[in-house]
């Protein structure tokens, strides 16, 4: 039987499934269930061992729970290390900047991202887990941003929104080369920012004031959300979650502050419209998260709705309601929400069986 080549994400998922399957098989045997035929078990064990060995040699995946926990720790350490390294690079440039002639300044800021990209490539060749390589990639992205900002400063340039597109392109290139999650999320943020800047420019405003109008983020975030769902599986969730957060955040802001809207309606009308949209989007995120088995989307949707409702309750009741009654009402609503989720869960279980 031919076996198609697996991606890193698929290999890790298969390894997790095999680990869970073997644990359940052992538990069932301990509880007295008759095991499957021995020759079938042997054949299955050999198949699974071959698959794990191949995946381990190619991707260095986590084969046990301890390895998985270690990998989480390594990812956290990588993110922390990348942040500290970026701060070190920026601080170093700040310190030596005034002592360098203009030519050296240009050369230094140009060399920084190139050196970081070279480091990413070299490290990735030697390290299968790619944690160190991801650190180098994050530093490369920061170095490229630093390069464009410093060049703009050296030559006193007026600035352009197209620099956001350049940032997005650079981060996307590194993200897709090795399926790095953080650079992909950064590329999504830069792309949405670019779309927002272009929206404001098209309307006659100055692009640097785009964030004063949160609505300018909505369409680019929606487009980015759809595009992120087509990314490689290992980085898809990061792009999807980033775009979803940047889609929901403006809705939350405008549901509370209609004066920041581009619409010419009365602020109260704008706020009401965005409150209705907030409820619809929150419920949609929850339903889609459950339907497609995306727990991250479900958590974001549920958290968004919770924050939105809390803001509404404070806005409606805080000023006139006794404090104890306000919190009692919140508790009651939380219990009603819990009950509704239980009913929904029971229905899902009924459908599954």
């Amino acid at each position: 039987m031919s076996r198609r080549s697996l991606s890193r994400a698929e290999a890790q998922r298969r390894a997790d499934q095999i680990r869970a399957f073997r644990a359940e098989l052992a538990d069932s045997a301990r509880e007295g269930l008759a095991p499957p035929p021995a020759d079938w078990l042997d054949s299955l064990a050999r198949h699974q061992d071959d698959l794990l060995a191949a995946a381990a040699s190619q991707f260095d995946i986590d084969r046990t729970l301890s390895e998985k926990q270690m990998s989480l720790g390594m990812s956290a350490a990588a993110i922390f290390g990348a942040g500290a390294l970026v701060a070190a690079v920026v601080s170093y440039f700040d310190r030596v900047w005034g002592t360098l002639p203009a030519g050296w300044q240009v050369a230094a800021v140009t060399a920084a991202p190139l050196a970081a990209v070279a480091a990413t490539i070299l490290v990735a060749r030697r390290e299968r887990t790619l944690h160190l390589a991801s650190v180098c990639a994050i530093v490369a992205c920061a170095a490229f941003v630093l390069q464009t900002v410093m060049l703009g400063q050296i030559f006193n340039m007026r600035g352009s929104p197209h620099v956001l597109a350049a940032w997005a392109a650079f981060a996307l290139a590194l993200a897709l080369a090795y399926e790095f999650a953080l650079p992909f999320a950064a590329a999504i943020v830069a792309l949405i920012g670019y779309g927002s800047a272009l929206t404001i420019t098209t309307m006659g405003g100055h692009w640097s004031t785009a964030l004063q109008r949160p609505e300018s983020l909505l369409l680019p975030a929606a487009v980015a959300l759809v595009a992120a769902c087509r990314a490689p599986e290992s980085i898809r969730a990061w792009g999807r979650d980033t775009a979803l957060l940047l889609l929901l955040a403006p809705v939350l802001i405008l549901s509370a502050s209609g004066t920041a809207s581009l619409l010419t309606w009365a602020p109260d009308t704008v706020e009401l419209g965005y409150q209705i949209l907030a409820v619809a989007l929150g419920i949609a995120a929850i339903v889609l998260g459950i339907r497609h088995d995306h727990s991250d989307v479900f958590v974001i949707g549920a958290s968004f709705l919770a924050v939105f409702l809390l803001l509404r309750f404070v806005d409606w009741w805080w000023d006139w309601m006794p404090r104890y009654l306000f919190f009692l009402l919140l508790a009651t609503l939380a219990l009603v929400w819990l009950w509704l989720l239980r009913v929904f869960r029971r229905r899902l279980s009924g459908e599954a069986s």
Partner: protein
């Protein structure tokens, strides 16, 4: 796919630097004559051992009572919708909601506008800060740069104010503003939010000339309306 992506990651920094160098070369190939400004107009950002870069912040004035040039007609010329009567209901929201726009502004250096402002202050015999709008750049009361005009394109101002040693033309972000004089109906005006760029980088070869804290800076604006420091000389205060 990986090779293509990595090639893009290598090419982009080179393209960025090339584009910046080309833009600077184009900007400096032509432009207005130089203007000499002092530490009152170009304030040096604080430096330290951890921050050795030398950056000037451009300080200017936009005195409220002198901004009579920012009329409804001027705002409409800049692209704003000024059809709503300032006294009408909802006018405040209309003008607050207007998107800030890019424009070019002319600033007069050490000319009649500054003299008029100083005279007005002397007559009022009040603190200078009462009538000077605070800008995000915190303009110093001693700056002799005063905003006197704006236009949607620089060529108009360049023709109108040909003396580069007395008038500085630069890009800015402007927006309409309602003024509420006490006892009078609201009046439509405008204000300059920030100059673009609002800072000028000091070449490291000239940093030593800033030691005394009193300096005369020769600045030129090129054909892309981006400035650069030509020279710095120490001066007596």
């Amino acid at each position: 796919m990986r090779r293509l992506a990595l090639a893009a990651a290598v090419v982009l920094p080179l393209v960025a630097t090339s584009a910046a160098l080309l833009s600077a070369r184009t900007n400096r190939a032509a432009g207005r004559d130089a203007i000499v400004l002092t530490e009152h107009e170009l304030q040096l950002r604080p430096r330290s051992s951890d921050n050795s870069a030398a950056i000037f912040e451009i300080r200017w004035r936009e005195p409220r009572q002198l901004a009579k040039w920012m009329t409804r007609a001027k705002l409409e010329e800049l692209g704003f919708n000024c059809q709503v009567d300032p006294a009408a209901p909802g006018a405040d929201r209309h003008y607050r909601q207007a998107l800030p726009r890019a424009a070019f502004v002319a600033l007069e250096y050490d000319g009649p506008a500054v003299a008029a402002w100083l005279e007005a202050q002397r007559l009022l015999a009040g603190p200078a800060s009462d009538d000077t709008r605070r800008r995000p750049g915190r303009p110093e009361p001693t700056s002799h740069l005063v905003a006197i005009d704006a236009a949607p394109n620089a060529a108009t101002l360049d023709r109108r104010y040909p003396d580069a040693q007395r008038h500085l033309i630069t890009s800015a972000i402007v927006r309409p503003d309602l003024d509420w004089p006490p006892g009078k109906p609201p009046a439509l005006g405008g204000r300059i939010m920030i100059l673009v760029p609002g800072e000028i980088h000091v070449p490291s070869r000239l940093i030593s000339h800033l030691a005394s804290g009193h300096y005369a800076v020769t600045v030129r604006y090129g054909q892309r309306w981006e400035p650069w420091v030509v020279d710095i000389a120490a001066r007596q205060p």
